[in-house]
């Protein structure tokens, strides 16, 4: 199995995880969408040097992962794959912003390093929450929920097809890569060969996408996604939304780690 293929199977695990009946899966997808959006807004709204104040927000992805029985290793692997993007975004902060900000013993930490750490923490929090929600809900149910919340059908359908075709494209790419390797040996292919491969990949993916679309239309697909899991809003969903939004508001308004620190050091003269 090629590396691309292995990565695709790993990604598909999200769907398999979501198909199980976990406490997280039983919560209405709309509630999860609303709470996760609130979570993202709260995390992103912090000052660019905030690090410690963000830590209480880790509770949300952690609880999602536990309630959804999402393996921590899987979540960690996915975070690592996306990490280079976050690192690239914050890479120049330590070089550009050298003003000293924090002193730990003799060492001082520049503001650039602090904002770099802040970017990494935010990345880990938001991506972990998004992954846990997808793995605890399923892309299909999530798109249906977005639709019921008023997102345009064209948008939800696009999102779902993007997800669906990513596997198709990945599978084609993996097979073409294997075929090239078998006849091209270990030599790196020339730019011309890469061009031909990319063009072919596009055409093949088009054809495949068309067949898949036909197969869906043949089974009555009309642009709307329907789910077996009946979406019924219950008191538990209201409690889920109210509880988490309340917690986010509190963690946004009060710097919990700093408060705890003060409380602990209050007795020390």
């Amino acid at each position: 199995m090629s590396r691309v293929e292995a990565a695709l199977r790993d990604l598909r695990l999200a769907d398999t995880l979501a198909a199980r009946d976990t406490p997280l899966a039983r919560i209405d997808a709309r509630a999860k969408v609303v709470v996760t959006l609130a979570f993202l807004v709260a995390v992103v709204s912090f000052d660019r040097h905030a690090v410690a104040a963000l830590l209480p927000f880790a509770l949300y992805p952690a609880v999602l992962a536990v309630r959804g029985d999402v393996p921590a290793r899987w979540l960690g692997r996915k975070l690592l794959i996306a990490a280079p993007f976050a690192v690239a975004v914050g890479l120049f902060n330590p070089l550009l912003d050298r003003a000293p900000m924090l002193a730990i013993g003799d060492a001082t930490l520049s503001a650039g390093w602090v904002s770099f750490a802040s970017i990494l923490v935010r990345f880990a929090l938001t991506v972990a929450a998004a992954l846990a929600v997808v793995a605890g809900t399923g892309m299909h149910t999530l798109c249906a929920a977005l639709g019921r919340l008023g997102a345009p059908r064209i948008f939800t359908a696009q999102l779902l097809f993007l997800y669906r075709y990513a596997f198709v494209l990945g599978g084609e790419a993996s097979r073409m890569g294997t075929a090239r390797m078998l006849r091209g040996g270990a030599r790196a292919p020339s730019l011309a060969v890469y061009g031909a491969l990319a063009g072919h990949l596009l055409l093949r993916a088009f054809e495949r996408a068309e067949r898949i679309h036909r197969a869906m239309v043949a089974r009555g697909f009309d642009g709307e996604f329907r789910s077996l899991r009946a979406a019924r809003w219950t008191g538990a969903d209201t409690a889920f939304v109210a509880g988490w939004c309340g917690y986010f508001a509190a963690a946004r308004a009060v710097d919990i780690p700093q408060g705890l620190g003060r409380l602990l050091t209050a007795g020390i003269p």
Binding site: T16, H140, R211, A218, G220, D222, S227, L228
Partner: protein, 243 residues
């Protein structure tokens, strides 16, 4: 003779690049008939099935399912009556679990949840895949995928089944199970295939296609004993055929 259920009158179709795929195809299939569509690669078998299901629109001629002409306007109605099993089961299966995948069609028909559940269960039992209900389709074997793809179509309760290369890529045991399954159906069937032994086991009538036309239309016996016809159409008599 009963009323024709599937009818094609002078169907013509060319792909956008100009390649002709259907060049005046006419035939009638009666309710309950099991008809094989055979021919060389590129003879137009798949395109014919797509046209009968309204998935491609012919440039001339007309297909009818019962009293209903197959047009873009009647497509939704046609898809309730005509089930299509695609050549590559991977094109058809995409939901997270087998159960959800089989439910995709019935849900699109707007049926109530209880009715959908009952149909899913019945369809999976028919193809002997009830034990796979909770599995992820992409992790199934080729034979299991084919069975689930057929269940997904059966759950819509069509009266006509179109099958494109149903035995392609199956191991001998899975292929034998498929043949038993096909013979257990009372549906009107059109089977496009290169597997002439499968034709011998499942179909009473054979349409031979060549360059987008119907070259011959007759009983399996008549077609398979015509050596000149078979050679002209890049076919060979099936191994199980004894004159």
């Amino acid at each position: 003779m009963s009323h024709p259920l599937v009818e094609a009158r002078g169907l013509r179709f060319a792909y956008p690049d100009g390649t002709p795929a259907l060049d005046g195809v006419s035939f009638r299939v009666h309710a309950g008939e099991s008809v094989a569509v055979v021919g060389a690669n590129g003879a137009g078998k798949s395109t014919l099935l797509l046209a009968l299901n309204g998935l491609v629109t012919p440039s001339a001629g007309e297909a009818r399912i019962g009293e209903v002409p197959v047009t873009p306007a009647t497509r939704a109605q046609i898809h309730r009556t005509v089930g299509y099993v695609f050549q590559d089961a991977d094109d058809q299966l995409f939901m997270a679990t087998v159960r959800e995948d089989v439910a995709f069609g019935p849900l699109n028909l707007g049926l109530a949840a209880a009715e959908v559940e009952a149909r899913v269960q019945a369809a999976l039992e028919t193809v002997g895949a009830a034990h796979l209900a909770g599995r992820a389709p992409y992790r199934l074997s080729g034979g299991e995928k084919r069975a689930v793809a057929i269940a997904g179509v059966l759950a819509m309760q069509p009266s006509v089944l179109l099958l494109d290369e149903p035995s392609a890529g199956l191991d001998p045991a899975s292929r034998r199970r498929l043949i038993t399954l096909l013979n257990s159906f009372s549906h009107t069937k059109l089977v496009a295939t290169h597997d002439l032994d499968l034709v011998l086991d499942t179909c009473s009538r054979v349409l031979v296609m060549r360059d987008g036309r119907i070259e011959a239309d007759g009983t399996a016996a008549a077609v398979f004993s015509d050596a000149a016809l078979l050679a002209r159409c890049h076919l060979e008599p099936p191994l199980g055929w004894r004159q």
